[in-house]
Every structure is written in C-alpha cells, then in structure tokens.
C-alpha cells in the first residue's frame, strides 16, 4: 500500500492494458458527444466544429418553444409513453404470476421460451409483420377483424392516426412481455415456499395467496422497474416510431427522438436537433429523479 503510485502503476501495467482501451473508448464515444451538446447553444458549422462554432446563447431553445411541431411531438411523446406505461408495464407482471400458477412445469417452460422469441427479432421485422397481417386486402388479421365486425372493411389499420396508438402499445407488449417477465419470475422463485405452505394451512385460496404473498414479495422489483420506466417515459422507442410512421400516420408518430433526428440529421440543422435532444435528456432525468424521490418517501425503495 505504501509503494509509490508510479511503482504501483508499473506493477499493474498489464491490468491497465486491459482496462484503459475501454476507458479511452468511453471518452471518445460517450464523453466527447456529451461535451458536443454545447452546440445546442451555438450555431454549429462543420468547418468550425464543436469548439469554434459561434455562440448563439438560447436562440435555439427560444425557437424550439415557439415551434408548433415541437409542441406536438412533445404531446405525442407523453401520450405514447403514458399509454405504454399504463398497459405495457403491468403486462409482464401478470404473465409471470400466471406462469407461476401453472401446475405443469413443462408447459410453463414452453410458454416462457416462446414468449421470449419476439424480443430477438428486429423492429424492422415487427413492423413488416404488421404491414403484412394488417393489409386491408390480403392481411389475415384485418380480414378476421372485419369478419367479426370489430373494424369496418374500409379501415386501413396501418394508415390511420386513430389506430396508431393501439398498435404501438400492442406491438410493444407483444415484443417485450416475455423478456420483461424474466426478472419477475426470478423474484417469484426467490419467495420462501414456507409462506405459501403456511397460507394453505390457514385456508388461503389461490387468489388470496397471489394477493397477500406473491404481489407483496414482488413489490421492491416492481418499484425499481417502475422508476426506470418513468425515466424512460420521454424516450419513446425511436426504432418503433420511426419505422411505424408513414405519410398517413406521420403526425401521430412524430415523437421527440424522431423530430430530433429529422431536423438534425435529415435537414442538417445540427444545433437545433441537438437542442431537442438535450431538452429530452433533461426531462428524462428530472422525471426519473422525481419518481425515485417519491418512491423513497412513500415506500422506502429507491434506485439511488
């Protein structure tokens, strides 16, 4: 311990050789872009770069808050995120509880393995599946929905802003429910079986055991994941939104991340696009902080 830092460094030269490349990588690919955020207070030009582009102060942000497209995309972002949170968050919890109640263990394993599958395919494929199955002329699902009278025969499921939100939430659940249930299943597996046995002796039925043992045991896990999802409220999945938009659903699919991409990289307004991204990060962090704080006050569980 008392050896000189230089001597210690020399002793650890091989460990350093393993560690430092990744540190350097982080500086280049994470920290320099973080520093690059200053261009949202500048007017970035490629020749002058992050450092020498001229300052413009808050001009980009002033323009942002007066931009009706920005306001629309902010509203869309929250609308989509809240819908995903309300319907998508409980889904894996319900699935894991149902799986836990399955008597035949082999059936349980099969269901589990199958529901992971969509997590591994790309959003590109998922959107492709939707276009195929929901095609008004050839799609099997849309034909089925028409024949059962759920939708009219002239409904274009992928081309209507009204069905858009439903489809977004539905595919989100479809793609992630199995994967997200893993963590809850692990928490359930950690519950002391004696609790259930004692409850059975006391005459508690199925529903009482779920309500009084399984759910309370899952509470810490649920809260931690809830805090994380609240932080993610504003980061609605870029892949999904970008790929699901078409000329008819553009207005509904314009969320902050898509708007930032389009203004920044497609139109080439680098500074303005960065300002949108910065706004998004700040709101995400504030939301997560609030969720974490309230959770610590109310339930004593917190992330940090």
């Amino acid at each position: 311990m008392s050896s000189l830092p230089s001597k210690r460094f020399w002793q650890q030269r091989y460990l350093m050789l393993l560690t430092l490349p990744a540190v350097l990588w982080m500086i280049i690919f994470n920290y320099i872009p973080m520093y690059g955020v200053i261009i949202s207070f500048k007017e970035y030009t490629p020749f002058q770069g992050f450092l020498h582009s001229p300052w413009t102060g808050l001009a980009n942000f002033r323009e942002l808050f007066n931009d009706p497209t920005f306001t629309d995309s902010l509203v869309n972002t929250f609308k989509i995120s809240i819908a995903k949170l309300v319907f998508g968050f409980p889904a894996p919890i319900i699935l894991s509880i149902l799986l836990n109640e399955v008597v035949f263990k082999r059936f349980k394993r099969i269901v589990q393995s199958l529901t992971y599958l969509p997590y591994f395919v790309s959003w590109v494929l998922v959107v492709g599946l939707m276009y195929t199955l929901l095609d008004p002329e050839t799609g099997v699902i849309s034909k089925m929905l028409v024949s059962t009278g759920i939708i009219g025969s002239d409904t274009m499921m992928m081309g209507s802003p009204h069905t858009f939100l439903t489809l977004v939430v539905f595919t989100e659940i479809w793609k992630n429910i199995g994967w997200n249930s893993i963590i809850y299943l692990a928490a359930i597996a950690g519950i002391d079986p004696q609790l259930y046995e004692a409850a059975i002796v006391d005459g508690a039925g199925r529903f009482r055991r779920i309500w009084h043992i399984t759910l309370p045991s899952l509470k810490p896990t649920i809260i931690i994941l809830l805090i994380l999802s609240v932080g993610g409220l504003i980061n609605s999945n870029f892949d999904q939104m970008y790929l699901m938009q078409n000329s008819m659903t553009q207005d509904a699919a314009n969320v902050l991340s898509v708007y930032s991409y389009k203004t920044g990289l497609v139109i080439g307004r680098f500074s303005y696009g960065t300002a949108i991204g910065l706004f998004q990060s700040i709101v995400a962090f504030v939301l997560m902080y609030i969720a974490n704080y309230s959770s610590r006050k109310i339930t004593k569980e917190s992330l940090f």
């Binding site: 210690r8 460094f9 650890q12 091989y14 350093m16 393993l18 560690t19 490349p21 990744a22 990588w25 982080m26 690919f29 994470n30 920290y31 320099i32 872009p33 690059g36 261009i39 490629p46 770069g49 699935l95 109640e101 399955v102 008597v103 269901v111 529901t115 992971y116 599958l117 969509p118 395919v121 790309s122 959003w123 590109v124 494929l125 492709g128 599946l129 276009y131 195929t132 199955l133 050839t138 099997v140 479809w174 199995g178 994967w179 963590i183 692990a186 059975i200 199925r206 529903f207 931690i224 991409y261 920044g264 990289l265 680098f270 696009g273 960065t274 991204g277 990060s281 962090f285 997560m288």
Partner: protein, 292 residues
C-alpha cells in the same frame, strides 16, 4: 407444496390460466408462421389473400428471386461479416475492461467504474454522436463503423464484472506465483472458465449486430447495406421490390410475396440460434438487472 383438495374456483382458474397462456403462445407464433406459409405460396395466388393455415399453391419462386438478387447476397455477406467480427471484438474488448475493474487493487478503479455508470444516465444524444463518428473520426462509409463504435457496452460490462468477481481467487494467485502475468491469466485462465457469461454476452451482441439498421442508415452507403436495411427499404416503400421484381421479369404483383421471403430469410438465423443459448441468457438478464 402441500396437497389439498381443490375447490371449484381454483379448478376454473387453472383451466382459464392454461387457455390464456395458450392464446398468448398462438399470438406470439402465428405472425411468424403466417409469413412463412405465405412466402411459400405462389406469388400471383397469394395476392388474392386469405392464406391462413397452409400454402394454397406451393412454390419456391419467391426465394429463387430473392437469392438471385445481387444486392441481397451482398447484404447477406455484410451482415454476417459484421455479426461475426463485431461480436468477437466486442466480447473481448468489454471482457478486458470488466476483468480489469474486477480487481480491487487496480488504480483508478472507482473512477473508471463511475465513468461507465454515468454513461447509462447521460448521453450527448444522436447528433453530437453522429458528428463525432462521421466528421471527427471519418468512419462514415467504412466497414469499421459497424465494429468500432460497438466495441463496448456498459450493461454487458457489468454482467461480466459480476461474473468475474465470483471466480475463486486461489487459481489466479497460484498462477501468479508460477510467474504468469495478468494478461496471461486473463487469456488462459479466466476466459476459458467464463464460457457461460461469454456466451450470453456474445448472444446479445450478435442479436444487436444482426438486427441493426440504424447505424447502417446513418453511416452506411450502398456497399455497406445490411439485411435489415434492405428489409426496411422494402417495407417503407414497395417500389424497391417492384423494381427488383420487374428487373427479373416478374410482375409487380409479387412485390408483397418477395417482401415476405426477405423477411423470413432475414429472421431465420436469429430464430435458430436462440434455443441453443437460451439456457445462458436468463442468468444474464438477472445479473444485469441488479445494477439497473
């Protein structure tokens, strides 16, 4: 579990539960099944729609056309190359960092870890990142843009770090006494005994590389087209497929069917890989979620 007689609400619950879960399985599998059977159907006939359970007029025509397309085979090559090279390098690079910081005596260990964790909560956003990669590092249009920016991943590093911490210290200590240095220990002792965690991380990386389209869109060019990007172009506008079909002397009526064949070809490799590594990755999710 104690055995006890089940009352009727419980039996009803059991039955309903199985029904609900079966319905979920069908909802998960059917979309995949449907594109497979429709892609195996004669394109002209498929345009009538309504193929629900099996092909009406069996035909491999769609697959022949897709495999003959040069753009497709090139994209296949690029995608396989980036998946293999990207996965191998990223697993090693991330493991090296994780092994280094798993040693408590490492100088600056806390700072390195803090640096990594901060990146999970803050980022510069897409535009500064794009500018660094494209304008400062000049990686745009180079195959390396698929490899270098994806060498490191914090979540994967934490999973590996947790695993390395759990390894027994005695083996490494005895190797040290025998004169092996840290590089040798990492390469010849630690990596071989870490196969489960390496397999998990390799799967995550491979899935990412196979499914990636975003970086291909940002940084790629026609020579670097990936399968997912072709698929994306086909889905977002049918014009490309119609063009591909008419180039090969087929009617535009098969555009829809060609799209399906492309979807199947693009997805099959990942679907076939995952049962083999399934037993590992559940463990990975659980370790990874500890640190959020």
């Amino acid at each position: 579990m104690l055995t006890y007689t089940k009352r009727w609400p419980e039996r009803t619950f059991d039955i309903l539960n199985v029904v609900v879960l079966l319905a979920l399985c069908i909802m998960t599998l059917y979309p995949f099944y449907n594109i497979v059977i429709t892609s195996l159907n004669d394109p002209t006939d498929a345009a009538r729609g309504g193929i629900a359970f099996w092909p009406r007029v069996f035909s491999m025509e769609n697959y022949k056309v897709v495999f003959q397309d040069e753009r497709m085979s090139h994209a296949f090559f690029i995608t396989i190359a980036r998946t293999l090279a990207g996965t191998a390098t990223a697993v090693l690079f991330t493991a090296a960092f994780a092994y280094g910081v798993s040693k408590t005596e490492l100088m600056g260990r806390r700072i390195f870890l803090m640096m990594a964790i901060v990146t999970m909560y803050f980022s510069g956003g897409i535009i500064p990142y794009y500018l660094v990669v494209a304008k400062y590092l000049h990686l745009k249009g180079s195959f390396l843009v698929y490899i270098i920016p994806n060498l490191f991943n914090v979540f994967n590093a934490i999973i590996m770090l947790t695993f390395f911490r759990g390894l027994p210290k005695e083996i490494e200590e005895s190797a040290k006494i025998d004169g092996a240095n840290d590089l040798r220990i990492f390469w010849q002792l630690v990596l071989p005994v870490s196969k489960p965690v390496l397999a998990t991380i390799a799967l995550y990386n491979a899935v990412f590389h196979w499914n990636a389209w975003y970086d291909a869109m940002l940084f790629g060019n026609d020579n670097l087209l990936t399968l997912q990007q072709i698929l994306m172009q086909i889905i977002s506008s049918n014009s490309n497929v119609s063009l591909m079909a008419s180039n090969l002397g087929l009617g535009s009526v098969s555009a829809q069917s060609l799209k399906l064949a492309t979807m199947v070809i693009t997805t099959l490799p990942i679907v076939f890989t995952y049962p083999f590594v399934q037993k590992y990755f559940v463990q990975g999710v659980m370790i990874g979620s500890v640190k959020g």
